[in-house]
Amino acid sequence: MRVALVRRPIDAAALLAEVAGDECGATTLFVGTVRDVNDGRGVTGIDYTAYDAMALREMEAIANEASERYGTPHVVIEHRLGTLAVREASVVVAVSHARRAPALDASRYVIEELKRRVPIWKREHYLDGTREWVDPTGRGTAEAARTSGVAALSAPTPDPRPAVGVSEESRL
């Protein structure tokens, strides 16, 4: 098991080799890549930034959870930070297991939890030269909230700490 934040291209083939084991019949690789369109806007690249120390802790927690839930020590996660071009890999998740079903399940668990919990952010570069932080919650950026007059910091009702396992339920 290993997790890392890297500032160079991710070597997917190396991760594939890293999780190999004589007892493993199935290996899965999930590769997240920069795509050229998001929400209908042309994208030329993405800056990834993180709260490094906490991101690593969450990635480690996720790898541990996947390892325990699905019963394999062979879980590796690398996430890249910095500025990436279209087609470049931002994240690679490698899992191997004796059996294919838990290998596939573990891979999905890791990427869903990563997207839900790990404090990494991306700012997309658009064809028109603008750049914007992506808010997958769709609740709007701080800027959007400001310009639309949404009041600041008045109602302390945060998102609760997300319960582990929500994403697994949502897969059913």
Partner: protein, 81 residues
């Protein structure tokens, strides 16, 4: 006590800085940190009403008590992967 609050990504851009030194009474909670951030110069309206907060690199509820030396961070909606 004074707590250093870390800001990231869109929140750091919104306030034009990546840390805020926040004076707080002893026994202050995460909720007090969020309220306190809203009162600093230039912050009004620039952050959402109820952002996620982490204390010592773990997500924290608003009733969690903050202690001197804690690493407190305001977490924009995450977008890794």
């Amino acid at each position: 006590m004074t707590v250093t609050v870390l800001l990231f990504a869109s929140y750091a851009d919104a306030l034009g800085r990546s840390t805020v030194e926040l004076p707080l009474p002893d026994g202050a909670t995460v909720g007090d940190v969020v309220s306190g951030l809203g009162r600093i110069a230039g912050a009004a309206g620039r952050l959402p009403a109820a952002p996620m907060v982490a204390v010592n690199q773990s997500y924290a509820s608003y009733d969690q008590v903050v202690r001197a030396g804690d690493e407190v961070a305001v977490i924009p909606p995450v977008a890794g992967g």
